[in-house]
Amino acid sequence: MNGLYVINGAANDWSEAIRLTSGELYRNGCVKEEFYEKCCERERDYPTGLTEFCPVAIPHASKDYVLNQAICVLRLQEPVKFRSMSDVDKQIDIRYVLNLALLDDSDHIKIISQVITCLKDKEFLVKMDSLEGDDLKGFLIDNFFKGLS
C-alpha cells in the first residue's frame, strides 16, 4: 500500500518546506519522528533540487525512518531555494517538494523510476500546475504508482 498526500503551503526556507511535508507523513503514520531531521541532514550533504526547468526537490531519508511507503507533495505558494543536486553551489527556486518515504522493496524502484521519468517531462509540470485538490492527487497516484497496488 503506497500513500500519496498533497498539501499547499508557504515556507521561508527549504527546511521549513521539509518540515511541512515530513509533518504530514508523520501524522499519517508513514514515517518516524526522526524522518524530518534525517531528510534535512541528507539535504545538507546531498541536496535534491532538480533543475530550473523542473523546479522540484525530492528530499528523502533512509528506509530506517520509514514505516509505510508514501510521497508527500507540497505545492509552495512562493518558490523556496533548494541547492541543486548537480551543482551543490547553485540554488534553485523550487515550486514543488516531493518528500519521498521509501522502503527497500520491489515497489520503491518502480516508484522512484516513475517519479523521475514524469519529472523529466516538461508537460508533466504544466499538468500539475493546472490541477487542484483531489484531481491533482489522482493524477499523481496514476502516474507515480502506475502498475502498483
Binding site: R42, Y46, L50, T51, F53, S86, L100, L102, I109, K120
Partner: protein, 100 residues
C-alpha cells in the same frame, strides 16, 4: 562481469533510479554487470572492491577505482553525455578485467 557500485546520499532513491538506467545502458553496449547499491559516504572505503563506481552527487575522487558522476541521468541535464560517460566507463572496466 563488471562489478558496479551505484551510490547516492541515502542509498535508496536516486541510486535505485540510476541503477535501472545503468542496467539498460550496459545491456545496450553488451557489458555484463553485477550491480550493487550503496551510499556515497561509503564509496571511499568500498570503491576498491568494485571495477567502477557511479555516484549521483558531487564526489571527490580519491580512489584508484574509476568513479563517474551520473546525476545527469536523474536531472536530465546533459543526459546524453552522461550516458556516453557510463558506456565508456563500463567498456573501460570490461577491458581492464579482460587484461587481468
Amino acid at each position: 562481469m563488471v562489478k558496479v557500485l551505484i551510490a547516492c546520499g541515502s542509498g535508496i532513491a536516486t541510486s535505485s533510479y540510476a541503477a535501472e538506467e545503468i542496467v539498460k545502458i550496459a545491456k545496450k553496449v553488451g557489458v555484463d554487470v553485477d550491480i550493487h547499491k550503496g551510499r556515497i559516504q561509503d564509496v571511499s572505503s568500498n570503491a576498491k572492491d568494485y571495477d567502477v563506481c557511479f555516484v549521483t552527487s558531487k564526489y571527490a575522487q580519491n580512489s584508484d577505482t574509476l568513479i563517474v558522476r551520473v546525476d545527469g541521468l536523474i536531472s536530465g541535464i546533459n543526459e546524453d553525455e552522461t550516458i556516453k560517460d557510463v558506456e565508456a566507463a563500463l567498456k573501460q572496466a570490461e577491458e581492464k578485467n579482460k587484461s587481468k
